[in-house]
């Protein structure tokens, strides 16, 4: 395995490469990265991406705060993460260089837009000396390309003013990198046409800039070599590239189809969840209703109303929105109505780091409501897995008539990976029947409807929707008598209901997939078990691979269901003396495992708004392996 794309000769074959595009927020780095990714995807590489952008729409140009970056890992075999550290860094200005250089692997390739390294920008970035001249970049292979002026030159035929023409320089950079990694140019050229088609000047400028960059690579005798990363031998099938948020949106549309219910989304915009609302609102032809509510409370409340009315009801948000929705989620627990609550976690507390990733809302999802108000929790592990996880969450909500949390995070939301499209026909049927008649005998032979009479197996109550004659009923947040659903202040009934709501959630354990244990030596074979949840999956798996590559033994289990836990979890935990839980928080899952099973779970934590690097987890595993028991 080559970690670094070392400069070589004519055309070198690489098994993988990690490239980071970095520039000013206004430089279009996300677009550039995205395009490179798409071209690589269509080319057949396996890949994984990591966008990273500032909270401001456009932070001051040229400053560190304004730097926007996009990292992509492409490979000829299946990979699990966007890569710990790039081996190639494209830096469009000094600030981008400064903010990202420390991540570049020693010996890595650095391509800079030399035009941008003038005094003003250097000062803004806090450079006393121009790093291009002071020898501080010795450790890297540096290519200085005057991208701005070359772009202006190349786009002259469009007649655009230099200020406007400059804006195509990201396409110039894309061209250079596309040449360097022998990407096909057609998909990008086509995409430029379709994306900017309504503004031909811009389309033409971008096309010219892209071609100029590509040709620059080929003709300028600057680069010693270009590189090939062959298509990956992925499982055969039809693939598309998908981000977590789009996968959630597709998952919701799919869940609607699979349950034969109209989807209702009540939501309020918030980073990094808004894109689910955006995506869903484009698919009204599926009968999807999206309501941009006045706030998060109205978002979830309207969803509760829609659930009562018989829709597959959903609310999407991020941490601060979950805080606000807590009271209404408690109502949904009490009403026992199906409801999906989707939390795209971001850096907290409070407004925190809104555009960064974190997984610190697990305890909030578990416990963030007054009283005893248990709610099942499902967590997605990769961008594409968001699709499946969404359907699973919907399945549980519908079958058990309960609100269900789906946890994702900023990293999954915006990260992308190739997704082998499922055969729609094989997706599960998650339809549940509505109540259609009375269900209880009054004792005198006449029948009536009891809204809280339960299915003895699932403990779910009937879902009787308005429009059904004879099933009129009233429900509310006051404690209810089990069965009739009438208000009840009876002490024994309250205890019964509190325990019953918990039992209903606990009982779901029998209806979910057991957690998969990856231990080549069978359960208990390795001395250390790594348990994770959510977006750390790929990184943990990569770390586990690395540890095994060292000839050491380690087991991995990744939880999709956080409440209830899969029934085999306790047994698995019991088989390992050392349990390591990597989390992007201060140890939330670890705490729960300890409290639930008295397992001496140990934490490795990273709370930096950034995903773990495989190396970090690798070294924690190794350390634990080496520690005394």
């Amino acid at each position: 395995m080559t970690d670094i794309a070392a400069p070589g000769h004519q055309s070198t074959e690489l098994d993988r490469v990690v490239i980071r595009f970095a520039g000013d927020s206004g430089d279009g780095m996300q677009l550039t990265g995205d395009r490179f990714t798409s071209a690589s995807a269509v080319f057949g590489n396996d890949l994984s991406t990591l966008p990273d952008y500032p909270a401001e729409i456009r932070a001051p140009a040229g400053t560190l705060a304004g730097v926007s970056a996009f990292q992509v890992h492409i490979s000829d075999h299946d990979i699990l993460t966007p890569g710990d550290s790039p081996s190639v860094l494209v830096a469009m200005n000094p600030a981008a260089l400064k903010a990202n250089l420390h991540d570049l692997l020693p010996g890595g390739t650095l391509i800079v837009n030399s035009d941008a390294f003038e005094e003003r920008n250097l000062t803004k970035a806090g450079y006393a000396e121009n790093p291009l001249g002071d020898g501080s970049l010795k450790a890297f292979t540096v290519y200085e390309v005057p991208m701005t002026s070359l772009t202006v030159e190349a786009t002259k035929p469009t007649g655009a003013k230099p200020r406007d023409a400059e804006r195509s320089k990201n396409f110039f950079a894309l061209g250079v990198i596309s040449w360097m990694y022998t990407r096909p140019t057609e998909p990008t050229l086509e995409w430029i046409q379709s994306k900017f088609g309504n503004n031909q000047t811009v389309a033409e400028a971008n096309t010219l800039a892209f071609k100029a960059g590509y040709n620059f690579g080929e003709t300028a005798e600057l680069f010693e070599s270009n590189y090939q990363v062959k298509p990956a031998a992925l499982e055969p099938g039809l693939y598309t590239q998908i981000s977590g948020n789009v996968a959630v949106a597709y998952g919701l549309i799919a869940a609607g189809q699979l349950s034969k219910l109209p989807v209702f989304l009540g939501s309020y915009p918030i980073t990094p969840a808004s894109d689910i609302l955006h995506e869903l609102s484009r698919h009204k032809n599926f009968g999807v209703r999206t309501l941009q509510a006045e706030d998060e409370i109205a978002g979830v409340s309207s969803a509760i109303g829609a659930a009562f009315a018989g829709h597959l009801a959903v609310t999407t948000t991020s941490g601060p929105g979950i805080d606000l929705k807590s009271e209404a989620i408690g109502l949904a627990v009490s009403l026992e109505l199906p409801l999906l609550i989707i939390d795209i976690q971001r850096g907290g507390p409070s407004t925190g780091l809104p555009t960064k990733t974190e997984q610190a809302d697990l305890l909030l999802a578990l416990f963030g409501r007054h009283g005893e108000a248990p709610v099942p929790i499902v967590a997605a592990k990769t961008p594409a897995h968001c699709f499946e996880a969404t359907i699973e969450a919907a399945r549980i909500a519908l079958k058990y008539r309960t609100p269900v949390f789906l946890l994702s995070d900023g990293y999954l939301a915006n990260g992308a990976e190739p997704w082998k499209l499922p055969d729609v026909a094989t997706l599960p049927d998650i339809a549940v029947p509505f109540a259609d008649g009375p269900n209880h005998d009054r004792g005198d032979g006449t029948r009536e409807f009891w809204p809280y009479l339960r299915d003895p197996e699932t403990l779910a109550r009937p879902w009787a929707i308005p429009g059904t004659p004879g099933l009129e009923h009233r429900i509310g947040g006051l404690e209810k008598a089990d069965g009739t659903g009438n208000i009840s202040y009876d002490p024994a009934n309250h205890e019964h209901m509190v325990r019953l709501r918990q039992a209903k959630v606990d009982g779901i354990a029998d209806d979910i997939a057991p957690v998969e244990l990856d231990d080549p030596d069978g359960p208990g074979g390795a001395p250390v078990l790594v348990v994770g949840w959510g977006s750390t999956y790929g990184t943990i798996a990569a770390a586990v691979r690395r540890v095994r590559a060292r000839g050491l033994k380690v087991a991995q289990a990744h939880l999709i269901h956080l409440q209830p836990f899969p029934p085999n979890l306790e047994d698995i935990l019991g088989r390992y003396d050392k349990v390591l839980v990597p989390e992007m928080n201060l140890g939330q899952l670890a705490f729960v495992l300890r409290g639930r099973y008295l397992t001496n779970a140990q934490s490795i934590n990273k709370v930096q708004g950034l995903p773990f690097k495989a190396a970090e987890i690798e070294s924690a595993i190794v350390q634990l392996l080496e520690s005394n028991p």
Partner: protein
């Protein structure tokens, strides 16, 4: 509304089997009776009717209606009801709320439901007090009110619910009171018929914590001189002998006058359908509180597309344009490649 012919019902059919639990003498009873008696006339079926409320004495209302119902959480009824109405435009959705529930904690949901013109019939029971929590002042309590939380008198200037609703772009705004079943029913009937959000303020007596709050205008003797009935197309007149009237001067000032002083022709003719709500707003300011001549009836009733219909329209348009959703096609709608 469904097409099927609606079976004939009586008040009893609309009355649930739950015992009513308001204090004896509470104004809520007469409102409940007015609604239960009115329902058979409205042409809805019980199964297509949903009552949604928040929390408060008034918010217990849905339990007593033999329809679908949600007793939700404090202040959120308009939001919950918006979900019901948007999901199911075929239903008749009522919101029951109080001056605390609807104007304090729930004020935002209320004004947004009004501006969106969601198809809801909203009844706000205004007793100028928090009943359920045993007597704190509310956003409609008068300045100086002594309550449990204001032992030295409240210092909050109150909302005028009619003005607030008009300021929030409401298309239907009316006021009635718990002492006059006929008037209530007439107003409720109009509100129910209105397409979009219909807002009705009901002056309601809380005989335990705020008894007699409306006596100055609602006592039998006071009504002729202190209630100004609004009737569309009619000059706005009141008094035992219709001797009083309302005019607007050239500087946009509405005033109460003796009809004899200005002549009948000068009297303002009520126009609830006027596109812009300025007039209705001006009328809402005639009284600064329920202790001087106060308009009751429909202030405003104008047409505007309803939120639910527009949602529906976009769904239909999308289907016409894109065809019904095809999941497999959606999944492959981005760039795809075969491995």
């Amino acid at each position: 509304m469904t097409d099927v012919s609606v079976p004939v019902t009586t008040k009893k059919d609309w009355t649930s089997d739950q015992e009513v639990r308001w204090c004896p003498g509470c104004g809520d009873y007469s409102i409940l009776t007015a609604v239960q008696m009115l329902m058979p006339e409205l042409g809805d079926t019980r199964e297509n009717t949903v009552f949604v409320s928040g929390i408060g004495c008034s918010s217990r209302f849905p339990y007593y209606m033999n329809t679908y119902g949600i007793h939700s959480i404090h202040g959120r009824a308009p939001a919950v009801a918006t979900g019901v109405a948007v999901a199911r435009p075929d239903l008749s959705v009522w919101v029951i709320t109080g001056d605390g529930d609807g104007l304090s904690i729930g004020g935002n949901h209320l004004i947004h439901a009004l501006r969106r013109n969601v198809n809801l019939t909203i009844l706000l029971f205004n007793n100028q007090i928090y009943g359920l929590t045993k007597g704190q002042y509310s956003p409609t309590s008068e300045v100086g009110k002594v309550t449990k939380s204001t032992p030295f008198g409240s210092i909050d200037h109150p909302f005028n619910p009619i003005s607030l609703a008009l300021g929030a772009e409401a298309t239907f705004v009316a006021r009635t009171h718990d002492m006059d079943r006929k008037h209530m029913q007439e107003v409720f009937r109009r509100a129910h018929r209105h397409r979009g959000a219909a807002f009705v303020e009901i002056y309601q007596n809380c005989n335990v914590f705020n008894d007699g709050a409306f006596d100055q205008i609602l006592s039998k003797e006071a009504r002729p001189t202190n209630l100004i009935p609004l009737e569309h197309g009619q000059p706005i007149r009141f008094g035992a002998d219709h001797e009083k009237g309302v005019i607007v001067d050239g500087q946009g000032k509405a005033r109460i006058v003796d009809v004899a002083d200005v002549g009948e022709d000068a009297i303002l003719v009520h126009d609830e359908q006027r596109a812009e709500p300025g007039l209705a707003f001006m009328l809402s300011r005639l009284a600064t509180g329920p202790y001087e001549p106060t308009p009751v009836g429909v202030f405003r009733a104008v047409d505007r597309p309803t939120y639910g219909e527009e949602v529906q329209r976009q769904l239909v348009a999308a289907q016409e344009r894109q065809g019904p959703g095809d999941l497999a096609a959606l999944l492959r709608s981005g760039a795809t490649w075969e491995v």
